[in-house]
Amino acid sequence: MTEIRISGYGGQGVILSAMVIGKAAALYEDKFSSLAQAFGPEARGSSCSAQVIVSDEKILYPYLVNSDILIAMSQEAFRKFSPELKAPGTVVYESELVTPEGLSSDIKTFGIPATRIAEEQLGKSIYLNIVMVGFFTAVTKLVSEDSAKKSVQSLVPGHTIENNMKAFDLGYAYGKKHYA
């Protein structure tokens, strides 16, 4: 069982990234996966997070207890959620928004300037979440590239598929290049 926390601030598309990962595992691989959102009206406009659990067995307990993987797209999110990481564990982070700090040594970290990549290569920072997912796929290998791409395709609006696929590829390639 792998427990993943995806976090950032509102507007970064945190939930969608979580959906992509969860759906890839549940529908396009032979796995179980569940996704739970952290709700809370006090959270309006501030940090935002989702939990994905991927497992070979039926998932019974719906929430993440300790994360194996933390995807952090904001420093605040990193600060909030890094303490719940297991050791060994993994942090996948937006390298221009997050500076990982205070992690124990058996936690692997993978950074990518996803916002800039999205902005520079696709003209819109909103694709950062899918860049992150591509990167995540490459560095964690939790789901296959193929499954993840199918999942992206099924989840984004029709007219954005092309850009989102590109975003995924950019992130994936970045991961392969820097952390292969």
Binding site: M19, L27, S33, S34, F39
Partner: protein, 390 residues
């Protein structure tokens, strides 16, 4: 009868319980929803609002839950299969009309995605603390059917059952979800329409002159008449006779309310759905429903690893309560453990049914999150040690 393919989103989906419940309703033939937004149920109606123009039907956002809970009944009498969807505070507002649906035998579904209470409580966090309200929240005597799913998939599947039971027994059915199930995204497989069994409304084939709207025809249940076909039927929330006319005295009260209760009580076997595992030879049985049943299952598996003979009995149907089942069970086991996301509601029914035959351990939790599996595990262990006829 098979499902209308228009409403069936056949395929494999990754959706949460709220969305799955909506798809279940569409697959069941629900074409009218009157609703009012409230966390954490809103996604059900949001999805319905988006889907229904394409399927053929209506979503009407009403001015409040009171209007919703009666508009849906108007729609049913107008020919629709219908539901309304809400959470705690809205459910409280619907109480009067749950009674109206019972009294007028209006088949329909009330969905409650439970959140922490009382009052505004914890709008975005889970609880199962409206279970007794689902049974007792409206004034007067009645029986009710309440189902409780424990996964996205079951939100779909059991919703179809909910609609079918409502039509079969001409009664409102409470679909008791919780925030956790409602907001948890999982794989949901929606089958082809032709493999979905639908219980369609029984409209009378009698001539108007022979028809009595509240005359029990089969299994204590009267047939409905279609609107606009000359039946000139009358529907009232007053105590009424078989013609449907107000008839306010002890005799009619006895006959009518007695029948309304019996039509459920006498068909418990058909209505009560329980998922069992490892009951035979068990020392301890964990009895639970909804999201808690998943934590309970985890605790059970852990307990089995620790060598405890423990089984599960998951109530998919919470009301009518499985008295006889529990009573029988109580004679076979040491302890029944009842974890719930509330202060101990259904455990009272268990205690009542057990009649001192075995030990009952309540594992309450006021909500806001789910139980820790360890807490249930501890109760199982305790139950395995002590118990049996005290």
């Amino acid at each position: 009868m098979k499902s209308d393919p228009k409403g069936v989103l056949t395929g494999v989906h990754y959706i949460d319980g709220d969305h799955a419940a909506c798809e279940g309703a569409l697959a069941a033939g629900c074409r009218y929803v009157a609703g009012y937004p409230i966390t954490p149920s809103t996604e059900v109606v949001e999805r319905f609002a988006a889907r229904i123009p394409h399927v053929g039907g209506l979503f009407m956002q009403m001015e409040d839950e009171i209007a919703s809970s009666i508009a849906l009944q108007g729609a049913v009498w107008g020919g629709a299969k219908a539901m309304t969807v809400t959470s705690g505070p809205g459910f409280s507002l619907m109480m009067e009309h749950i009674g109206y649906a019972v009294m007028t035998e209006t088949p329909c579904v009330f969905v409650n995605v439970q959140r922490g209470g009382p009052s505004t409580g914890l709008p975005t966090l889970p609880a199962q603390s409206d279970m007794m309200q689902a049974r007792w929240g409206s004034h007067g005597d009645y029986e009710i059917i309440a189902l409780s799913p424990n996964s996205s998939q079951e939100c779909f599947d059991l919703m179809i059952t909910a609609f079918n039971l409502s039509e079969r027994f001409r009664t409102p059915v409470m679909f008791m979800m919780d925030e956790c199930i409602g907001h948890m995204t999982e794989k949901v497989v929606i089958p082809k329409a032709e493999s979905i069994e639908i219980y369609n409304r029984v409209y009378t084939k009698k001539k108007p002159s022979e028809y009595k709207p509240y005359e029990p025809v089969k299994d204590l249940i009267p047939e409905m008449a279609e609107i606009g076909k000359g039946y000139n039927f009358h529907v009232t929330g007053l105590t009424h006779d078989e013609k449907g006319y107000p008839a306010m005295n002890e005799e009619n009260q006895h006959k009518l309310v007695g029948r309304l209760m019996d039509k459920i009580r006498n068909y418990k076997d058909e209505i009560i759905l329980i998922e069992e595992d490892g009951i035979e030879g068990a020392d301890v049985v964990v009895m639970s429903y909804g999201i808690t049943s998943r934590i309970a299952e985890k605790a059970m598996l852990d307990a089995r690893k620790a060598g405890i003979k423990v089984g599960k009995a998951r109530l998919k149907t919470v009301w009518p309560f499985a008295d006889e089942y529990v009573n029988k069970l109580s004679k076979k086991v040491k302890t029944i453990v009842v974890p719930e996301l509330n202060a101990g509601q259904i455990v009272r029914e268990v205690e009542r049914a057990v009649q001192g035959n075995c030990r009952v351990i309540s594992v309450p939790h006021f909500g806001g999150t789910v139980h820790k599996p360890e807490v249930i595990l501890a109760a199982i262990k305790e139950g395995a040690q002590s118990g049996n006829n005290r």
